[in-house]
């Protein structure tokens, strides 16, 4: 069983069952279907960050770099007025993002601790200003996606990305796969060494493991899934702009992951939904919503030391 904790075995099925049926009770074109799709995509992004920060011990403040990269890569790679295949481009984007993550990883993983935070931040800011100032890629306005990709596999098409409901299910399917993937990886032999490296890097190296290679592999995995989330987000709103790359996004994702329970993986879903839910609630309540939002986040972090998942585990484990 890849879900070791009782809490996961209860929360994960409940979430996906509810998520599966929610759109059926809503108007297909309703605002909420789109909004929830966005939150689900964000959950994928936060989950990939949670893996890196909470499980591998790589505290990155530049994760948005890959989110933006996923979006920009699609616009740059695909012909402007031609419908391309979604799966083919997913493959391209993941491969290219992985290669970029590999190159960046080789550089940034030479540092640890506070230096790692700073260098990841610096590299993502470099990308931000590059796209912000580039005429070719639309500068601060970003770029539009004029043609939505089609999704046929061997001539069979069952998914229309222009249909919000279809898109919703694609996002949900992706989130589920991401969750299962991370859980499988963490349970694997590779995962054992990753866990050991997080707990005690010096000892792990003294036992003969090349911890750099393990961290690099994790960095590539996490970054690639982050890019995939960015790609989905760009598709949903048919544009990409430099805010995708902003450090605020990296920071917000980190807050969501901490709110959900750092390192719990499934907690990323809880954290993202809670954060977005709170934001939606306060935004509609008052103009000064940021003030309330900040207070609420601080309260939750103080009261729930190990995040929402940690609190649920305290209630549900034995």
């Amino acid at each position: 069983m890849i879900f070791e904790k009782r809490t996961e075995r209860i929360i994960v099925p409940i979430f996906f069952m509810v998520a599966l049926f929610v759109p059926l009770f809503l108007d297909a074109n309703s605002f909420f279907v789109g909004k929830v799709s966005t939150i689900i995509i964000m959950s994928i992004f936060v989950m990939s960050l949670d893996f890196l920060v909470g499980r591998v011990g790589l505290i990155t403040l530049g994760h948005a770099l890959f989110y933006g990269l996923g979006g920009y890569l699609f616009v740059i790679l695909s012909p402007e007025y031609e419908v391309v295949n979604f799966w083919v481009y997913t493959f391209y984007i993941c491969i290219i993002s992985a290669l970029i993550a590999l190159v960046i990883g080789v550089v940034v993983l030479r540092t640890t601790g506070i230096y790692f935070i700073m260098i990841t931040l610096a590299i993502s800011q470099m990308a931000f200003y590059y796209f912000f100032d580039s005429l070719k890629y639309g500068g601060d306005d970003g770029l539009f996606i004029y043609m939505t990709p089609e999704t046929s596999i061997f001539g069979l098409s069952f998914l229309n990305l222009d249909d919000p409901q279809h898109f919703y299910y694609l996002a949900l399917f992706s989130l589920f796969n991401t969750l299962v993937f991370f859980k499988v990886v963490l349970r694997s032999r590779f995962g054992r060494i990753v866990e050991a490296t997080k707990q005690n890097p010096d000892r792990t190296e003294a036992l003969g493991y090349n911890i750099f290679a393990f961290r690099l592999t994790c960095y590539v995995i996490g970054s690639t899934l982050g890019a995939y989330a960015g790609f989905l987000f760009a598709l949903q709103y048919s544009f990409v702009n430099p805010t995708f790359l902003s450090w605020e996004l990296s920071g917000t994702a980190l807050v969501m992951s901490i709110l959900g329970g750092l390192g719990t993986i499934y907690g990323a879903i809880l954290g993202t939904f809670t954060y977005e839910g709170l934001q939606y609630f306060f935004e509609h309540l008052t103009k000064e919503w940021l003030l309330f939002m900040g207070t609420a986040i601080i309260m939750m972090v103080i009261l729930l030391r190990k995040g929402i998942a940690g609190y649920l585990e305290k209630l549900l484990e034995k």
Binding site: G191, E195, A196, N200, T204, E205, A206, G208, N210, I211
Partner: protein, 254 residues
């Protein structure tokens, strides 16, 4: 072939700025022998050990393992050549069981470390090797206990078990008896007597009785320099050693 030289240092030095932590050390370590290293605080014992396992790079000089130069290699390469070390400060994985601690050490040699899919529990050989290492140090009844929950003495034993699980041929032990009670020390001494029949052991230790009882060869370091290497009796008889550090001991004995 009991007297094969497996590990050798040649004019090994480590300088920190102007301070000479180790100066011009040439030593030979033989298979199936226990080589004790003693010296007053700051003599450079730990520095020597850290260089022998690759975590510190020498300022000058070389290290040879079975005739091949290894001092330029990455630390994890040392382990793959069969050089395992234990730490002076207990250095284990506190949040997992004793078995898992040893499984982490053992897994490397069975491959599949970059297998992202197969469950970590699927390889029975890893488990067997881990159990064997625990049995070697006598921790069988702690198999499923979290490492943080066992006693300090047991953690020291686990520390050695983890090195054994890497299947080394050379053991570098940094004060395995540090902070232990008499009874626990006796258990480790018994264990080391058993181990030195099959491994080359380099032992850094402050417990003089233990060192005298165990060592086949004994080296005294003083102030980063090599003072003498010989059998226990030779070292005890040497006037320079008495002067540097054992003198007080001898007087008390007399």
């Amino acid at each position: 072939m009991a007297n094969d030289i497996v590990l050798e240092t040649e004019a090994l030095s480590k300088h920190w700025g102007g301070i000479k932590a180790l100066n011009d050390i040439s030593m030979q370590f033989r298979d199936r022998q226990l080589h004790g290293v003693v010296g007053p605080n700051g003599a450079g014992k730990s520095t020597l050990l850290n260089m022998l396992c690759g975590t510190l790079k020498p300022t000058s000089g070389c290290i040879f393992h079975k005739g091949q130069r290894i001092d330029t290699l990455k630390p994890w390469r040392f382990v793959r050549r069969g050089i395992g070390r234990s730490f002076q400060k207990t250095n284990i994985y506190p949040e997992v069981t004793c078995l898992e601690n040893c499984a982490i050490s053992a897994q490397r040699r069975f491959g599949g470390n970059f297998n992202l899919i197969a469950s970590r529990h699927s390889n029975k050989l890893v488990r067997k090797a881990a159990e064997q290492a625990l049995a070697q140090v006598g921790l069988e009844d702690r198999t499923y206990t979290l490492a943080v929950e066992i006693s300090y003495g047991e953690q020291r034993q686990l520390e050695i078990a983890m090195v054994l699980a890497t299947n080394p041929c050379i053991l570098l032990l940094d004060e395995p008896m540090a902070g232990m009670g008499h009874e626990e020390s006796q258990r480790i001494i018994k264990l080391l007597k058993e181990l030195k029949k099959t491994y080359c052991i380099v032992l850094v230790e402050h417990d003089m009785d233990a060192i005298f009882e165990l060592s086949d060869q004994l080296t005294v370091l003083d102030n980063g320099s090599h003072l003498i290497t010989g059998t226990v009796d030779e070292v005890r008889a040497d006037p320079r050693v008495k002067e540097a550090y054992l003198g007080v001991d001898e007087e008390q004995a007399a």
